[in-house]
């Protein structure tokens, strides 16, 4: 149908990790044309970044072909990609901290002649002036803010005259003003005849900047739409699949008194950015408090602060005992919290990097929480083994044996092991972060059931999620975070996806520019 030659054409791309255990992309084909901006849309884990990493030479596809301007190419390394004019701005910046902006920008260039940092700085200044960036070329990267670092990344690509640009969630770290100036730059590039791919999951940005939308779901290509001829509703439907009523069981809350009282919780990142800004709320036993928000809005910091893993700047987290006595949890370490007699379970987002030890077997991972028990200098190995067996049986964990390292298990089974361990401790508070990310339907429902069981036992559950359907059907109340601020607490039984979405993007205050 389209007679033009695409700038880039990826055909039947398949990529797996862990010897085929994890399929990141399956038979994906996409086309990008010059003078256009393509939005690559998909939920977390849908394989957008992996796909683009194969275009930029970070990964090598297992199967499939890539064509640039109609010619088949092999992209073995980022260098190959750059030679083909493909430049990617990664979500995690690829900058050398101890070098200056200029040094980072000219890194790896094959220009003739001696290294002339002054001339390069001049050229960078020109680019800055042209697009309205504000950057000191001689500033060291480790002194820069996140948005300055992104500026360096973008200039790096512009400096190389790349004509195929990939931006991986570029606006996640930008203020609205910075986003607008970025979009202006992108429009200029488009006018220059460059091909731009932007990975995002903010639908209003898709509508504002893109010409076409390609949607991925679970690593597969779902469809391509013209932005102006389709609606965000259609994109969402394609992203999440056919609208299914999840029918998650939701028992009524038990109506117990508050278990945790969070007040004015404020967290600043190591770079000095506000991650949580005076967040206050209560959670009661026997209820599920859902937490919604665009990724990076402070969810991680919130949970880690409560768990005693995050240095906080201000505020308090009060734990209320059954008899009404109150104890401060803030700035304790997890071990101290345990010794205060408080069982606080936490299923972190990074399952293998934080919640579990990938190279240890199931039984040893069970011991993480319990190994200190008893006076003996030796660990009790019988009970963890039994507990592992019990969890394998009850949660139907698929594993060759209890002695298999958890790294070998599939995502769903890893999560069952982790959640199983955390609830085996009979907690009073259960916090989960993205508990069903990457899990199949059955495993997800197992997790929902476990959460509801805990709720009925009177546990205060905090459920951080990204799937709004699940949040609305599982939670009793939904707390919405937006850029570290609490933008609202909604009654899950009365709200809908649209309203939660508005609170997530802070559009609710701006007079209903609802999509």
């Amino acid at each position: 149908m389209d007679q033009r030659v695409p700038a880039v054409s990826m055909r039947n791309i398949t990529k797996t990790f862990n010897s085929g255990a994890v399929v990141a992309n399956k038979d994906v084909s996409i086309n990008i044309y010059r003078g256009e901006i393509l939005a690559l849309l998909g939920e977390n884990g849908s394989g957008k970044t992996t796909l683009m990493n194969m275009l930029s030479g970070i990964y090598f596809p297992d199967e499939g072909q890539i064509f640039v301007d109609g010619k088949e190419v092999v992209i073995r390394s980022p260098k190959d990609a750059l030679d083909l004019g493909i430049g990617m701005i990664h979500q995690h910046f690829k900058l050398v901290d101890v070098l200056t902006a200029t040094e980072n920008i000219i890194l790896g260039l094959k220009e003739k002649g001696k290294l002339d940092l002054k001339a390069a700085a001049k050229k960078i200044k020109d680019i800055c002036d042209q697009y309205g960036f504000d950057l000191d070329p001689m500033q060291k990267v480790y002194n820069m803010s996140v948005s300055q670092k992104q500026t360096v990344e973008i200039i790096k690509v512009l400096y190389r005259n790349a004509d195929i640009l990939i931006l991986d969630e570029p606006t996640a770290v930008l203020t609205p003003q910075e986003t607008q100036s970025l979009f202006n730059v992108l429009r200029n590039m488009k006018a220059d005849g460059k091909a731009v791919i932007i990975i995002t999951h903010k639908l209003n940005e898709v509508r504002e900047i893109s010409d076409f939308v390609d949607v991925l779901r679970h690593g597969e290509f779902i469809g391509s739409l013209t932005t102006s001829e389709s609606t965000p509703q259609e994109w969402t439907d394609m992203m999440v699949g056919r609208k299914v009523t999840l029918n998650i069981e939701r028992p009524d809350p038990l109506g117990l008194p508050p278990r945790l009282k969070v007040k004015d919780l404020t967290v600043r990142s190591e770079e000095g950015l506000i991650k949580l800004d005076h967040v206050s709320f209560d959670v009661s036993g026997g209820e599920v408090l859902g937490i919604a928000g665009i990724s990076g809005s402070g969810q991680k910091e919130l949970l880690e602060a409560i768990a005693g893993l995050q240095v906080t700047e201000e505020g308090s987290v009060i734990y209320v005992e059954d008899d009404g006595t109150e104890e401060e949890l803030l700035n304790q370490d997890p071990n101290k919290i345990r010794r205060m007699g408080i069982t606080l379970s936490f299923v972190p987002e990074d399952r293998l990097g934080m919640g579990l030890v990938g190279n240890m077997d199931l039984a040893d991972n069970m011991m993480l929480r319990t190994f200190r028990k008893g006076k003996s200098p030796f660990t009790d190995r019988k009970n963890p083994h039994k507990r592992a067996e019990l969890i394998v049986k009850e949660l139907e964990v698929v594993t060759p044996s209890i002695e298999t390292s958890v790294r070998r298990l599939s995502g769903g089974n890893v999560q069952k092991v982790l959640v199983g361990r955390e609830i085996a401790e009979a907690p009073k508070v259960l916090m989960t972060a993205y508990a069903v990310r990457g899990l199949d339907i059955n495993s997800s429902y197992t997790i929902y059931d476990l959460i509801n069981q805990q709720k009925q036992k009177g546990v205060a559950v905090i459920y951080v999620g990204e799937d709004l359907d699940v949040l609305i059907e599982l939670s009793d109340r939904i707390l919405v975070l937006c850029e570290g601020e609490l933008s609202g607490i909604l009654d899950a039984r009365k709200t809908d996806k649209n309203e939660v979405g508005l609170y997530m993007t802070s559009l609710h205050g701006e007079g209903g520019e609802a999509s």
Binding site: F17, S56, I58, Y59, F60, S77, P78, K79, A81, L82, D83, M88, H90, K94, L95, V96, D97, V98, L99, E103, I106, L107, G108, L109, E111, K114, L115, K140, Y142, K156
Partner: protein
């Protein structure tokens, strides 16, 4: 009175092996490779040169001719370079291509290299069936210590600065060039980025493995020259087992002491060299043991530098961030 005119040159000749070793190791470490095989490489650099010139001198003896200065220098130089290069390649193959642990590989390389040096140093005569009592390459030594003609005419200045064999100047020139290249060229910039953050360097189109190979091999060759200097110049062409001692480790200390700056290494190595021989010039009375304490000073000072630098956390002064790690692009 402390005789600086005779003290200084002795400190300088002590400094050259250290300078070569540390320049080589700095270049290597800048690529993110912590090569603990440097002591072994310096032994191999030395013995390879010895083997080369041993055969050359034996052939001269057989034919009754006198030494050709050019060959007398070129043969051991080439042999030394090849020997060190081979060691560098072994290290790279294991750590870069096969991603073996750098520390373990380095230590194995040192065991191997020191053993190699001592073995051939101790068995060369037996293996070749020669009829000489010991390895004494006096003719080659003569070639290596040709002095500048000006040295004798310029009094104390000549004695202090001009009265050395060419390897001394070569070592200093190499160190200065290395400093310049690291600081002011594209090559140096790319190399530094590989050692700091290989994933970023890779994304910028730099061939990380090639840089690691390249830097490590060049570094090994430079370090090997230090070993060669020790034998051919300092030790008058006489090999003695373990004679080179712990200079290889001291060279690694020097890298930290100079905070990865070869140009600073020129002066710092002379300082280290001076501490090595200070006891000869300071009246210690009956207490000969005190010299061993002086020899400890470089290590203690290096420790203090290392700790201070890590306490102050100035980013520019830290070891290369990825030092000791191997790089695999698809690591998740």
């Amino acid at each position: 009175m402390f005789d600086i005119v005779s003290f200084f040159p002795r400190a300088v000749v002590q400094s050259v092996p250290l300078l070569c070793g540390s320049t080589g190791e700095t270049i290597t470490e800048k690529s993110g490779n912590l090569n603990l095989g440097i002591p072994g490489i310096m032994y191999v650099g030395a013995i390879s040169g010895v083997i080369g010139s041993f055969f050359y001198e034996q052939s001269l003896k057989a034919s009754g001719s006198t030494i050709n200065t050019f060959l007398g220098i070129a043969i051991p130089m080439v042999c030394s370079i090849l020997g060190s290069l081979l060691m560098g390649l072994i290290y790279c193959f294991l750590t870069v291509s096969l991603r073996a642990n750098q520390n373990v590989t380095g230590l194995a390389l040192t065991t191997f290299g020191v053993g190699f040096g001592n073995f051939f140093g101790g068995s060369l005569i037996k293996l070749t069936g020669s009829e000489v009592p010991s390895i004494a390459l006096t003719q080659t030594h003569g070639c290596f210590v040709h002095k500048l003609p000006l040295a004798a005419k310029t009094g104390w200045f000549g004695k202090m600065f001009l009265n050395y064999g060419f390897l001394v100047y070569l070592a200093i020139i190499i160190a200065l060039i290395a400093a310049y290249v690291l600081r002011h060229t594209r090559l140096g910039l790319n190399l530094r980025s590989v050692g700091e953050d290989p994933a970023t360097a890779d994304a910028a189109g730099i061939n990380v493995n090639r840089y690691k190979y390249f830097a490590t091999c060049i570094g090994s060759v430079i370090a090997g020259l230090g070993g060669l200097f020790y034998i051919m110049d300092y030790a008058s062409g006489v090999w003695s087992n373990d004679g080179f001692g712990d200079r290889g480790w001291l060279a690694i200390a020097l890298v930290i002491f100079t905070i990865w700056r070869p140009n600073v290494g020129v002066l710092a190595s002379i300082l280290f060299g001076a501490l090595y021989i200070l006891y000869l010039f300071i009246p210690t009375g009956a207490n000969a043991a005190i010299k061993e304490f002086y020899k400890m000073i470089p290590y203690v000072v290096t420790l203090l530098v290392l700790v201070t630098v890590s306490m102050r956390k100035r980013r520019e002064n830290q070891p290369p961030a990825s030092l000791g790690n191997s790089y695999f692009r698809e690591e998740r």
